[in-house]
C-alpha cells in the first residue's frame, strides 16, 4: 500500500471502531435524536468524505 493509503485506512479504521464503541458505552443511555442516531450518521458522512479524498485523483 502507498503511504497515504495507510493513513486513510487507519483513519477509517478508527472511525469504525468509534462506531462500535461509543453507542454501547458513553451514549448508551442517551435516548435522544442526538444520541446514537446522530453519531452514526455523522461518522458515516465523515467516511464518505474521506472516500472522496482517496479517490480524487483516480484516472487523472
Amino acid at each position: 500500500m502507498k503511504e497515504n493509503e495507510w493513513k486513510w485506512a487507519l483513519t477509517i479504521f478508527i472511525i469504525i471502531l468509534l462506531a462500535y464503541i461509543l453507542p454501547y458505552t458513553i451514549i448508551t443511555e442517551v435516548a435522544k435524536w442526538y444520541g446514537s442516531l446522530l453519531l452514526w450518521i455523522v461518522l458515516t458522512l465523515t467516511v464518505i468524505i474521506i472516500n472522496y479524498f482517496i479517490t480524487k485523483n483516480w484516472g487523472k
Binding site: Y24, K32, S36, V47, I48, Y52, T55, G59
Partner: protein, 490 residues
C-alpha cells in the same frame, strides 16, 4: 389495497423494464467478457446505479425496517457500518480493476485461481459462492412473495409472487447479459430510491413533521433510540451481524465482479461515490420507515409485516403505496438477476472451464447461458420452503461468503499466501459455518460469521506458512499493481 392496482403497477413496471432491457442490446455478445462484464466498458453512472440496485434488495425496506421496528436504532448502526465497510472498494477497487484488465479476469474466483497458481482454488471458491448465494437469492424471491401476499390480503398468493420474480430475473439477465442487467438495474435503482424517499417524506409530514416525529420517538419509544435498547441489539448480536456485512463488498462475487466492469478508474470512482450517496439516503429511508411503523403500529408479533402494514395504512396514499411496493419488488429482482448472472459466470468460467479440457470461451458462454435458468429454479425451490425470518437468513449467507475474505486480502497484500492456505481456509471454515447455521448453536455466544472470519484467517495464515508460495506469480502480479497504481492514481 386493490388487487387491480397492484396488477397494473406490476404490468407497467415489467413493460418499462423490458423496454430498457431491449434498448440495452448492442452488438452481438459472443464472448464471456462481453456477456458477463460488458467488455469492461460500463460508464460510471450506470455502474453506480447498478451497483446500488444489486446491493440493496427487498431486505432494506422489509428486513431492515423490521429490525428497526423490533430493536430500534441499532439497525441504523448495523447498516451504516456496512456502508463504511464499502470503503474497502477505495483500496481494493483499483487493484481488482487493474489486474482484471491486464490478465483478462471475468470472475473474482478466476483471479484467485490465477494468483495462487492453482485451478482448484477457482473451482472450490466458485462452488462455495453458489452454495451460499442460492439461499440468499431464495430469500429475495420469498421477500417478493410475502410482499405481494401481504399487500393484497392473499389475493396474489406467495407462490405467484415468487414465480413472477423468478421469471423477471431470468428474462432480465437473458436479454443481453450484464448490459440488460445493468440498465434495468439502473432504472430500478432510480425507481426504488425516488419512490421510497417521497413516501417517507409524506409519512413524516403526516406524523407531524420531523420535529414531532423525533419527539414522539423520544417520549413514547425511548428504548428504540439507544443500543442495546430493549435488548434486541446486544453487543454480540450487533457484532455478529455487522462483521459479515462489513466485508460484503469483497466477499460477495455479484458485487466484487463489478470492480472489473467500469471503463476507467474515473468511472470506478463515480461508481464508489455514487453508491455511497445512494446507500446513505436509502438507509435513512429504511430506518425512518421502521420507526414510523413502530409509532403507528406498536406491538406486532412479526416485524416483517411492518412494511406491508405501513404501505396499506392511511399514512400512505393508496397509489403511492402500490408504487413503493413495486419499488421493493424491483429492489429484489435487481439483486437476484445480478446474482444469477454472476453465479452462471462462476460456474461456466471456473467450474466448467477448469474441469472440461479445452473448453473454449464460446463453449463457456453457452454453458453459462444454460445455467442461468437452472440456478434460478434452484433458488425458486428454496424460496418455496417459506422460511420466515428474512434478515437472519440473509446474514447467514453473507457469513458463509466471509471465508473467502482472507484469500482475497492475501491476493493483493501478502506474497506468502498459498493455494493450500486458501483451500483449507475456505473448505474448513465454510463447513464449520454450515454446521453452526444448521444446528443453530452459538459457540461462546458468537455468531457463525465471526467464527468464519477468525477460523478462515488463522487457517489461511498457518497453512500458507507451512506450504510453498507461488513466488514468481506473486512477484509479477504484485509488481505490476505497484507500478500501474502509481501511474493511474498519482
Amino acid at each position: 389495497m386493490s388487487t387491480t392496482y397492484v396488477w397494473w403497477a406490476i404490468a407497467i413496471y415489467v413493460l418499462a423494464s423490458l423496454f430498457v432491457a431491449f434498448l440495452s442490446r448492442s452488438e452481438k455478445q459472443t464472448s464471456m467478457s462481453s456477456y458477463f462484464i460488458g467488455d469492461r466498458k460500463l460508464n460510471g453512472f450506470v455502474s453506480a446505479l447498478s451497483y446500488s440496485a444489486t446491493t440493496y434488495s427487498a431486505f432494506m425496506l422489509v428486513g431492515l425496517a423490521g429490525l428497526t421496528y423490533m430493536g430500534g436504532v441499532g439497525a441504523l448502526g448495523f447498516e451504516l457500518i456496512y456502508l463504511m465497510g464499502v470503503s474497502l472498494v477505495a483500496f481494493f477497487g483499483p487493484r481488482f480493476w487493474l489486474v482484471g484488465k491486464k490478465y483478462g479476469y471475468v470472475t473474482p474466483s478466476e483471479m484467485l485461481g490465477d494468483r495462487y497458481n492453482n485451478k482448484s482454488v477457482a473451482i472450490v471458491v466458485s462452488i462455495f459462492s453458489c452454495l451460499f448465494l442460492i439461499p440468499y437469492s431464495a430469500v429475495q424471491l420469498a421477500g417478493v412473495g410475502y410482499l405481494l401476499q401481504g399487500m393484497t390480503n392473499n389475493a396474489i398468493s406467495f407462490t405467484t409472487g415468487v414465480i413472477i420474480a423468478t421469471v423477471l430475473a431470468i428474462v432480465f439477465s437473458f436479454i443481453a447479459g450484464i448490459r440488460s442487467v445493468a440498465w434495468t438495474d439502473s432504472l430500478q435503482a432510480l425507481f426504488m430510491i425516488v419512490t421510497s424517499t417521497i413516501v417517507v417524506i409524506i409519512i413524516i409530514s403526516r406524523l407531524g413533521g420531523l420535529g414531532d416525529f423525533l419527539h414522539t420517538l423520544e417520549t413514547n419509544h425511548a428504548e428504540l433510540l439507544t443500543v442495546p435498547g430493549n435488548g434486541f441489539w446486544s453487543f454480540t448480536t450487533f457484532l455478529g451481524m455487522t462483521i459479515p456485512w462489513f466485508f460484503f463488498s469483497l466477499s460477495n462475487p455479484q458485487v466484487s465482479q463489478r470492480l472489473y466492469m467500469p471503463k476507467s478508474l474515473k468511472s470506478l470512482k463515480t461508481m464508489l461515490m455514487g453508491f455511497m450517496i445512494f446507500g446513505f439516503i436509502y438507509t435513512i429511508v429504511a430506518i425512518v420507515w421502521g420507526f414510523s411503523a413502530a409509532i403507528k403500529f406498536p406491538g406486532l408479533e412479526n416485524a416483517d409485516l411492518a412494511t406491508p402494514l405501513l404501505l396499506s395504512s392511511d399514512l400512505v396514499p393508496p397509489i403511492l403505496g402500490v408504487i413503493v411496493m413495486v419499488g421493493i419488488m424491483a429492489a429484489a429482482v435487481s439483486t437476484i438477476d445480478s446474482i444469477l448472472l454472476t453465479l452462471s459466470s462462476l460456474f461456466a468460467r471456473d467450474v466448467y472451464g477448469n474441469i472440461k479440457k479445452g473448453a473454449t470461451d464460446k463453449m463457456q458462454l453457452r454453458v453459462g447461458k444454460i445455467v442461468i435458468p437452472i440456478i434460478a429454479i434452484l433458488a425458486y425451490l428454496f424460496a418455496e420452503l417459506e422460511v420466515n425470518l428474512i434478515a437472519v437468513l440473509s446474514v447467514a449467507s453473507s457469513a458463509g461468503l466471509l471465508v473467502v475474505v482472507p484469500a482475497i486480502i492475501g491476493t493483493f497484500f501478502w506474497k506468502r499466501g498459498t493455494a493450500a492456505g486458501v483451500l483449507t481456509s475456505v473448505i474448513v471454515s465454510g463447513i464449520i459455518i454450515i454446521i453452526i447455521e444448521l444446528t443453530q448453536i452459538k459457540p461462546l455466544g458468537l455468531a457463525s460469521g465471526i467464527w468464519g472470519i477468525v477460523i478462515s484467517t488463522l487457517l489461511f495464515i498457518i497453512v500458507s506458512l507451512l506450504t510453498k508460495a507461488p513466488e514468481q506469480k506473486a512477484s509479477e502480479f504484485l509488481g505490476y499493481i505497484k507500478v500501474a497504481l502509481k501511474n493511474e492514481t498519482k
